[in-house]
C-alpha cells in the first residue's frame, strides 16, 4: 500500500509544468498559443480542453472571450486558480475539474463558438481522442471552430531521425528537471474529419516539422 507513495512522487509537479513543456518543445508551445487565439474576440465562448495551468485560457480571455478551462488534474487547476485571481481578465475564465469522460456533463450542447486544446491529444488514448472530438463537435455551434496544437512525427526519414535524436535529449532533460514532457500524436487530421469537422489548415510551427496547429470547423449545415 505504501509503495503507492513512491510511485506518486514521480508524477509531474504542476508548479513546474509550464517551464517543462516550454523546454521540451523548444519554445514551440509558447509560440503556438498566440496563433491559436489570434481570431478570437469578445463574442466567443471558448472551451479549453486540458487547460493545465491555464496559459491558453488566459490568452483567449485577453482577447475578450469567455473561457471554460477543463482539466483532470486538481493540482494543475490549483495553480491555474492562483493565476486567475491575479489576472486582469481572470473574471472571464472559469476552471472545472473534469476528465475527457466528463465532457458530456460539463459542456452543454451548442454552448461554445470555439474549442481549443494545446498538448492534450498526445496525452490521450485513441479512444479518448475520438470521444473528445465527438464531444467538441456536440458542444460547438454550427460554424464553430476547433483549434488543436500538439507535437507530431515529422514527415520524411531524415527529419524524423533528427526529431527523435533531439527529442530524446529534450525529454530526458526536461523530465529530470521538471518531470514533464511531450510526445507526438499522429493521424489527428483524419480523426477530426471522421468526427464530422472540416479541416481548414494545418500550420507547422518549427523547422523540424514536429509541432503543428490544426484549424478545423464544424460545418454550418449538417
Amino acid at each position: 500500500m505504501f509503495s503507492y507513495l513512491y510511485m506518486k512522487i514521480l508524477e509531474s509537479s504542476p508548479e513546474r509544468y509550464d517551464r517543462g513543456i516550454s523546454m521540451a518543445s523548444l519554445g514551440a508551445a509558447d509560440r503556438s498559443r498566440e496563433r491559436m487565439v489570434k481570431d478570437l474576440g469578445p463574442d466567443d465562448r471558448v472551451a479549453d480542453l486540458g487547460t493545465g495551468t491555464g496559459a491558453l485560457a488566459f490568452l483567449a480571455a485577453e482577447k475578450g472571450a469567455t473561457v471554460t478551462g477543463l482539466d483532470a488534474s486538481a493540482g494543475m487547476l490549483a495553480v491555474a486558480e492562483r493565476k486567475r485571481a491575479a489576472h486582469p481578465a481572470g473574471d472571464r475564465v472559469r476552471f472545472v475539474q473534469a476528465s475527457v469522460g466528463q465532457m458530456d456533463e460539463v459542456l452543454e450542447t451548442g454552448a461554445c463558438t470555439a474549442v481549443v486544446s494545446s498538448l492534450l491529444f498526445s496525452e490521450l488514448s485513441p479512444d479518448e481522442r475520438s470521444y473528445a472530438l465527438s464531444q467538441a463537435f456536440r458542444t460547438l455551434v454550427p460554424g464553430g471552430r476547433l483549434v488543436i496544437s500538439d507535437e507530431t512525427l515529422p514527415v520524411g526519414f531524415f527529419r524524423r531521425l533528427v526529431y527523435r535524436a533531439v527529442r530524446l535529449v529534450m525529454v530526458l532533460v526536461s523530465f529530470l528537471l521538471v518531470q514533464a514532457g511531450t510526445r507526438p500524436v499522429t493521424g489527428l487530421p483524419e480523426m477530426v474529419v471522421q468526427e464530422g469537422f472540416t479541416v481548414e489548415r494545418v500550420e507547422i510551427l518549427n523547422r523540424m516539422g514536429s509541432f503543428f496547429i490544426l484549424f478545423a470547423r464544424k460545418p454550418e449545415t449538417p
Binding site: 506518486k8 514521480l10 469522460g101 488514448s125 479512444d127 470521444y131
Partner: protein
C-alpha cells in the same frame, strides 16, 4: 519493444508506475453478450490478466490507474469510480455490449464506488476474484466466487514474486555505492542483502510478532548469531565480524521497511510510521484516513453480504442463512476500507483514533 520494457519494469522496477494504453480490448472473439472485465492500466496487470483469460471470449476495459496496480491505486485514491466511469463512456461500451454489467477486480473495491458507476453509466458492478487466474473458473461458475477466490493469501509464490521485484530497487543504490567506493565489499553486501531478503520473505508468515518491525528483530538476531558463530569458528572471536553485524542490521532494516505491507495481510508498518511521525497526508501522495479496524453497526446492517463478498481477509462471516454478516475476525482487518466504501447502508466504519503499528 514495449513488451520487453513492460517485462523489465514489471520484474525489476515494480515500485515504479508503467502505463499501458487505456481502452477496450477484445480477448478471443467477444460479442455483445460477452462479459466486460475492468482493470487498471499498469502494464504488468494488463499483461497478466490477458494471459490468465486466454481462450475466454471477453472484453477487457482498461481504465486509467496512472500505470499503478489496482490495489495500490484503489487504496491511494488513484483508481476510483471517476476513472471507471470515464473508461466506460470514452470506450462507448454501451454501444458495444447489450448487457449492463461490469466485472471489477475485488481489490478495486477500496477505491471504486459501485453506486457512482451505476448512476453515471447505467452499468452495475460485480466484484470478481482477487486473482486474475481465478477469472475463468469464476465466469464458468456463473460469476460466483468460492471463498478461496475472495482471499488475498500472500502465498509463497506471491512472496517469491515480490522478492526480486520489490528488493531490486533497494539493492540497486547499495550496489552502486559499494560497486564504486567499496568494491572489495560488493559481493559480500550483495550476498548478505539477498540472503536476508530471501529468508525474510520466505519465513515471514511464521516469524512471531504482531507487526513487521517486531518480526524484523528475529532476522536481525539470526544474522548476528550466524556472524558470531562464524567469528568464533574462523575469526578471532564472536565479535570478529562486527562491521558485518552492523551492516546486516542495516540491511535487515532496509528489507523490512515496508515488508509487512508487501508480503503479508498486515497493515503497512511504513504507513503507520509516517502517521506516527505526523505525516498524515501529503498533498497528492497520501490521503488522510483512519487506520483503525473495521466496526459494524448491527442496527444499520441490512444483511446484504456485500462486505463478506469483497473482504480480502475474511473478516466477515455469514453465520446462518438469512442472518446478517458479523465481524468475526476484527483483528485480521488491515483497514483497506473496501467494505466501508461499498456498504449500501453505511453500517461499517473504520473506527480509529490514531494509527498504531499493526493496527
Amino acid at each position: 519493444m514495449n513488451r520487453i520494457i513492460s517485462w523489465i519494469m514489471g520484474t525489476f522496477f515494480r515500485w515504479l508506475p508503467h502505463r499501458a494504453v487505456t481502452g477496450l480490448r477484445p480477448s478471443g472473439r467477444p460479442d455483445a453478450d460477452s462479459p466486460v472485465l475492468v482493470t487498471g492500466n499498469y502494464s504488468l496487470t494488463l499483461r497478466r490478466l490477458l494471459a490468465a483469460i486466454r481462450g475466454e471470449d471477453a472484453w477487457v476495459l482498461s481504465a486509467d490507474s496512472g500505470g499503478i496496480n489496482v490495489w495500490c491505486a484503489a487504496c491511494g485514491g488513484g483508481f476510483t469510480h471517476l476513472q471507471v466511469i470515464s473508461a466506460v463512456k470514452v470506450s462507448r461500451l454501451a454501444e458495444k455490449v447489450s448487457h449492463r454489467v461490469l466485472v471489477l477486480p475485488a481489490l478495486a473495491a477500496p477505491g471504486v464506488d459501485a453506486r457512482e458507476v451505476k448512476e453515471h453509466t447505467g452499468f452495475s458492478v460485480r466484484f470478481g476474484p482477487v486473482r486474475a487466474g481465478d477469472i475463468p473458473a469464476f465466469l464458468a461458475a456463473g460469476r460466483k466466487k468460492t471463498p478461496a477466490m475472495r482471499h488475498a493469501d500472500f502465498s509463497l509464490s506471491h512472496r517469491l514474486d515480490m522478492l526480486l521485484s520489490m528488493n531490486f530497487i533497494l539493492w540497486l543504490p547499495l550496489a552502486l555505492v559499494f560497486g564504486i567506493f567499496f568494491p572489495h565489499a560488493f559481493w559480500g553486501v550483495t550476498a548478505l542483502f539477498w540472503g536476508v531478503a530471501a529468508v525474510s520473505y520466505v519465513l515471514f508468515p511464521w516469524l512471531p510478532g504482531r507487526t513487521g518491525y517486531l518480526r524484523m528483530l528475529w532476522i536481525m538476531g539470526g544474522v548476528a548469531l550466524l556472524l558470531g558463530l562464524a567469528g568464533a569458528q574462523w575469526g578471532s572471536g564472536p565479535l570478529a565480524f562486527w562491521p558485518w553485524m552492523i551492516g546486516g542490521a542495516a540491511i535487515t532494516t532496509l528489507v523490512f521497511f515496508d515488508a509487512a505491507g508487501i508480503v503479508a495481510p498486515m497493515a503497512s508498518d511504513a504507513e503507520a510510521l509516517a502517521f506516527a511521525l505526523g505525516i498524515k497526508s501529503l498533498p497528492g501522495l497520501l490521503a488522510e484516513k483512519p487506520l483503525g479496524r473495521v466496526s459494524q453497526d448491527p442496527d444499520l446492517c441490512i444483511g446484504c453480504g456485500l462486505c463478506l463478498d469483497i473482504c480480502p481477509l475474511a473478516v466477515f462471516e455469514k453465520p446462518l442463512e438469512g442472518k446478517k454478516p458479523v465481524t468475526v475476525r476484527p483483528g485480521a482487518c488491515f483497514s483497506c476500507g473496501a467494505c466501508v466504501l461499498q456498504c449500501p447502508s453505511g453500517a461499517l466504519s473504520l473506527a480509529g483514533k490514531a494509527a498504531r503499528p499493526g493496527g
